[in-house]
Amino acid sequence: MIEALRLLGFGEGGWAAALLLAAVVTLILSVLGFALGVVFGGVAATWRLGRSRILQFLANGYGTVFRGVPDLLTIYLMYYGGSVALTAVGHGFGWQGFIGLPTFATGVLALGVISGAYQAEVFRGAYLAIESGQSDAARALGLTRWASLRLVIIPQLLRHALPGIGNVWQLILKDSALISVIGLVELMRQAQIGAGSTREPFVFYIAAAMLYLAIASFTGIAFRHAEKQASRGTQEA
């Protein structure tokens, strides 16, 4: 027990600083992946709600594939597929060697693609939950298309979407542990490194689990607070 405390402390031979730093990497990785997912999800939701059959088909396919295929497989696709593509581009410019994709960028991209597929569903559902009279009323008040989107549609969209978005965030935070398989030193990888070099795997994986739990709880509280903010002025059912 005392040995475990020493391993997880800040002193000599303690891993606390390394683990906390890795937890920050996990947090940044997840936030960026999630933010990229908002963009992908927003575009896919717009396509699905739009009139073009081709765009609807593409957005449907995107959602079905990346929600149905294991996230690990998607990560391998991005990492190896991306490296091969980059090497091909390099050859075009006369570079002979193999170019590996930077792991952090790959991680963000993979998490973005995965979370976008889930967020598209959330955004689409939230948009459909807004009564159609709302945009008519905005138009009747003389608001331009952009103003009605910004002042009427998006605030309501956010209110409906926030609970679903919060779930996707939790999913992506946990998925970020999978990025360790391509070698990025985030929390999971750092725990593996610590476990390997001290031969105390139990201590390190418990510590990692606690840090994930802490991030998930704090951000969960933040999301509940945001939900309350977004739905002020409405009555609870």
Binding site: P70, M188, P201, Y205, L213
Partner: protein
């Protein structure tokens, strides 16, 4: 760009991983469902002695990545080898297969128990009272009234959980089990043809998921006679 000869070469290799994927998924979903049911039922009693440990278990397994759970069980418990050998459980925890099953089972039980708890709560009080008033024993009420209604409510959410579990079995490849994703990773790192392998392996998972969704839709139909048209 997509090369049919290469696809027909890798497809049989990937398909050879399907039995292991299915085994992992079915075992952990079945065991996890039973554990989830027990946990959900135990929470019907509002005593904190029962409630607190279950809430802790659920929070732990829902708030941490599945990969951490697998590593914690496979590598972490290996540290307690003498103790596990003493109680005769070492044979189980030495095998990545059983460690993966245990991690997947506990994980799905945590999610499943929340789904079932919600489903039990949604059974209208009046229905239970009506069953009791017409002379059914508490057990009979539970078996013939509460359970079918709760299961019916739970099917859509539990279906999502089952799909997540099928996808979750892919993590078993990280502890050396060669199921579909493990084989796919091997093929990608040998051939560097990530897109073709992804298309093939992805199609296998999509077909599995499609079959599961159809089967659950059938089950929901069977449990919803009141929504069907009269014959």
């Amino acid at each position: 760009m997509i090369d049919i000869a290469f696809l027909s070469e890798i497809l049989p290799k990937l398909l050879s991983g399907v039995p292991l994927t299915l085994q992992l998924a079915m075992t952990s979903i079945l065991l996890g469902f039973m554990l989830a049911l027990l946990l959900a039922l135990a929470q019907q009693r509002k005593s904190p002695v029962v409630l607190l440990p279950i809430r802790g278990f659920v929070a732990l397994f829902r708030g941490t990545p599945l990969l951490v759970q697998i590593f914690l069980i496979y590598y972490g418990l290996g540290q307690f080898r003498p103790g596990l050998q003493a109680v005769g459980l070492w044979g189980l925890f030495r095998e990545p297969y059983w460690c993966a099953i245990l991690a997947l089972t506990l994980n799905t039980a945590a999610y499943g128990s929340e789904i079932l708890r919600g489903a039990f709560q949604s059974v209208p009080r009046g229905v239970v009272e009506a069953a009791r008033a017409s002379g059914m024993s508490p057990f009979l009420t539970w078996r013939l009234v509460v359970l079918p209604i709760a299961f019916r409510q739970a099917i859509p959410a539990y279906g999502n959980e089952i799909i997540l579990m099928v996808k979750g079995t892919s993590l078993a490849s990280i502890v050396t089990l060669m199921e579909v994703t493990g084989i796919a990773h091997g093929l990608i790192s040998q051939t560097y043809r990530a897109i073709e392998v992804f298309v093939c392996a992805g199609a296998i998972y999509l077909i599995l998921n499609f079959v599961i969704i159809r089967a659950l839709a059938g089950l929901e139909y069977w449990l919803s006679p009141h929504l069907r048209r009269a014959p």
